[in-house]
Subunit: 309 residues, 2 copies
Amino acid sequence: MIKKYIIAIDLGGTNLKIAVLNLNLNILRKEIIATRTFRTKVSLIESIVDSVNAIIARYHLKKRDVLGIGLGVPGPVDHKSGVVHFFPNIPGWKEVKLRDILQRKVGLPVTLDNDAKAMALAEYTLGRAKNASNALCITLGTGVGGGIIIGKKIYRGKNNAAGEIGHLPINENGPRCNCGGLACLEAYIGNKRILKQARKIFQRKISLEELSLLAKQKHRKAVRIWKEIGRHLGVALSAVINLMNPDVIVIGGGVANSGKVLFSAVRETIKERAMSLQARQVKVLKAKLGSDAGLFGAAIMLKQERALR
Amino acid sequence: MIKKYIIAIDLGGTNLKIAVLNLNLNILRKEIIATRTFRTKVSLIESIVDSVNAIIARYHLKKRDVLGIGLGVPGPVDHKSGVVHFFPNIPGWKEVKLRDILQRKVGLPVTLDNDAKAMALAEYTLGRAKNASNALCITLGTGVGGGIIIGKKIYRGKNNAAGEIGHLPINENGPRCNCGGLACLEAYIGNKRILKQARKIFQRKISLEELSLLAKQKHRKAVRIWKEIGRHLGVALSAVINLMNPDVIVIGGGVANSGKVLFSAVRETIKERAMSLQARQVKVLKAKLGSDAGLFGAAIMLKQERALR
C-alpha cells in the first residue's frame, strides 16, 4: 500500500512541534504545544500521544496512509533500540524505551533520534550542507548540540553519541557544565549563560530577541556580547576544523539569528586560529531551514528508516 | 608478475627509516639514516633516492620484484596528487610534487601520505586499534600528529588534512603554536616544550629518556611533569571523545614510553571531564608497533593503493 504522510515531531525542553508532511517532505500542517506544563515523564509521553491522535483526527488522516512517526528528542538516545538515555534539560528521564512505548500507544512505526542529528540530516538533505561530503551542523539553544555528516551520512560514533560540540572544552579551567565537564562550549554560549551575561551588562532583564535586535542596530553593549559569543564559538570550531577538515559548518538555532556580528566574529576567529589549509577551505553558513529543521530531519529519518525495511 | 617486496620509508625531522617488507608485512631489513645533515630540499630528496638504491643493491633485490615504495612524511600532503604542502619542522618545502619526482628518479611506483595517518593505519591493521570501527591514533613527538579511522578507513576530510589533534586549542589564550594558532595541544606537549619545562624544573638539561626513567623511579619532579602533560592531553582527548565518540584512542610516539604516570593522568582527566556515556566506552591504549608503526603504515598504504589499480 502506498503511504501518503509522515508525522514529524520535534520535542524540545520548552515545546513540542508536530507536523504532517507528504513524502516529498512538504509540511502540510504544523502545531506547537508547550511542554513545560508536562512536568512528569508520564504526562509528557501522554502529551506526545495526544498530539499525534489530535493531528490525525483534526486533519482526517487515516492511520493506514501514514508511513510512521519521526521523533527528534533533546538528549542522547540509542537510535537502534529506541531508548532515551536521559534528557539534560527535562528531569525524570533515564533509559526510557520511548520508541516501543509510543509504537504501542499510537499503533504506528516510530523512529527516534537526537534532535541535533535530525537537524544536521535536514540541513544536509535540504539545506546549507547539501552536497557536502563532510559537515558539522551546530544548533545554538538552551543546549548547544551538533550533528556530523561524514561521507554523506550521519556519523554516529560507538554509542550514537558523536557530535557533542557543545561539550568541547574550550579552556582547561572554567565554568562547570551541566554535563559534569569543565569549561565546555555550552557553559559559555548556552542561552542561559548569554542571558545572564546580558543582564549583568545591561543591568536589567533582557531577552535574546531584544539582544539580537540591539546588535542589528549596532548597540555597543549588544555587539560586544555577540562578538564574545562568536569568539568562544570560533575557538571550538577551530578545534573541529583542524581535527575534521570539513567542507561546511552550518550554524542554526535561535542564537544564529543575531545577525552578522556573530558570524563575522566566528569567521575572524577561525581565520586567526585554525590551520590555514583547513580554514581556507571550510564554509561557515547560517542554517537554511530555521526552526523547522528538526521537523524536516525527523521526517527524513523516518523515511530513511522505513526504506531500509 | 607476482611481486615479493615493498619498500617502506618513514621520513622524520631527524632521521629517515627505510625497510624492506614482504607482502605479509614482515620487516626483512631496516636501516636508519640521519636527515639532519640534509639541509636543503634537493639533498633530502637525493638522500631518499640514494637510500632506496642502496637498500636495493645491498640486499640484491630486483626492481621487478618490488611492488613499490610507501612513504610517510612529517607534514600535510595531498595524498591523491602526491604533493607535499609543507613540512612544519623541515624548512624549504612548499607544494613539492614529491611522488612524481621520486617515481621518475627511482623507477618504482610511490605512494605518499602523512606519517601520522600511516601510523594510524598501521595500528588499525596490525596494532591496538584492530577491529575498531572508529579510532583516533595520536603520535607524540616533536610535533603532535593524529590519524582518524572512521568506518574502518582512514578519514581524510576535504584536503586530507583531518586528524590534526596536535592543533586542537585547549585554551582560549595561551602559547603561540608553530602552526600560527594559539594554545594548541602541541604548544603544551610537543617534545621541545616538555624539555624546556623539564630544564626549568630540574635546573639542568635533561633528556626525554631520563625524564621517563625518573618517572618510573617515582622521582617527584618527573612525575609532576608527566602528570601535567597527561592532563593537557586528557583535556584535548575529552574534546575528541565528546565530539567523535570513538571506540579506541591509541597513543604512540616517544613520549608514550614515559610509563604509567602519563596514561593514568590521561585516563583520570577523561573520566573527570568527558561525558560519561562516551568516556565509559572508550579505550585509551598505548600503541603496539612502537617506532616501526610509520614503516608498517607506509607499506600498508602502498599495498592498498596498488590493489586499487
